[in-house]
């Protein structure tokens, strides 16, 4: 996956040159376009807006919103809230970590899945809850969670 910024994006951002107050907006646009923010992208933003590279990187690493590595095609989010915790979210997390070979915050080598944990999703009646892409799945066992993730991946293989 190339992280070079497309010409359209550069043209879109050009009018903002020299205006540091647009830092977050430009970073969002880069992420929306490329999927993540690479060191080269940071350098581009730094030069364009006149913001030091240290400040750009500080902002990128501060907000959960920004990713510094390419993300998986699918995102699996596990709820960390109290109800889910009590309902066995820990076991689901361990099972998924083992099955996918990654820890929360990481992405599988083939860029298929990114695993994340999030604070309460507000679906406590369904505890424990897992969100795969846009879909909510509740009252899971570890085995069921793994199966759902596998189905998602193989569904992709079928479609693709």
């Amino acid at each position: 996956m190339s992280d070079l910024l497309p010409i359209e994006l550069r043209e879109e951002c050009a009018p903002l040159a020299g205006h540091p107050e647009h830092l977050i907006h430009v970073l969002r646009r880069v992420q929306e376009t490329v999927g993540f923010i690479s060191p080269d992208s940071e350098a581009f933003v730094s030069d364009l807006l006149g913001v030091t590279l240290s400040r750009v990187h500080g902002v990128v690493t501060f907000y959960h919103l920004f990713y510094t590595e390419p993300r998986g095609r699918h995102t699996v989010r596990l709820c960390r809230g109290t109800a889910c915790h009590v309902g066995g979210a820990g076991g689901i997390q361990s099972a998924l970590e083992e099955h996918l070979g990654i820890k929360p915050g990481e992405t599988t080598e083939d860029l298929a899945v990114t695993l994340e944990t999030v604070a309460c999703l507000g679906a406590c009646a369904l505890a424990p809850v897992m969100v795969v892409d846009e879909g909510y799945h509740g009252k899971l066992t570890a085995a069921e969670a793994v199966a759902i993730v596998d189905r998602t991946l193989s569904g992709e293989a079928e479609a693709g």
């Binding site: 959960h64 960390r80 809230g81 109290t82 915790h85 009590v86 066995g88 944990t117 604070a119 309460c120």
Partner: protein, 174 residues
């Protein structure tokens, strides 16, 4: 790591709340809040694993009161206040004494076989990852079948035996 039982105790609740705060809301841009949060998490982890001491409770109480002034923003204040409210529970002192009344803390939870209900099927022994259960399977023509026994010193409260027992013959000790 807790059990799969659907219970939670006050110290675990406080721990999860702080972990959630640390992962999401806590910015880390003032000096007291991130350190207080991290130390409090460390102390609560000790308390819920059976290593808590009375001095940890003193320290946690101090955090819950002093962080209200010291934190730079309402988020830190809120976290401190929530911790203070949680600390009001007598469960904390009991955890320090080694008892997690609700069975939520595996390290402080022990199980025992209820002798009169045990059918000596051996399922618990098979399920136990710690080899903590002693006993022999039921042999019909023998007259000296004895109920299984869980060695408390080896039990780590994982409750796998509870899930495995078909006769509801295992109960929580603490």
């Amino acid at each position: 790591m807790s059990t799969a039982t659907e219970v939670i105790c006050a110290p675990q609740q406080a721990l999860e709340a702080l972990r959630a705060f640390a992962a999401d809301g806590m910015c880390g841009r003032c000096i007291p809040c991130p350190i207080a949060t991290r130390q409090s998490i460390a102390m609560l982890e000790r308390i819920t694993s059976g290593e808590g001491e009375a001095v940890d409770l003193d320290r946690l109480t101090r955090v819950s009161t002093e962080l209200i002034d010291a934190a730079r923003c309402p988020k830190g204040e809120e976290a401190a206040k929530k911790l203070g409210e949680a600390l009001a529970s007598p469960e904390f002192a009991r955890h320090v004494e080694g008892i997690c009344g609700s069975g939520a803390c595996a390290a402080l939870t022990r199980y025992r076989v209820i002798p009169e209900r045990c059918t000596m099927c051996g399922a618990c022994q098979e399920a136990c990852p710690r080899d903590a259960i002693e006993g022999d399977p039921f042999i019909a023509w023998r007259g000296d079948n004895k109920p299984y026994v869980i060695r408390l010193e080896k039990c780590d409260g994982c409750a796998k035996c509870v899930a495995a027992c078909p006769a509801d013959a295992i109960e929580r000790v603490t």
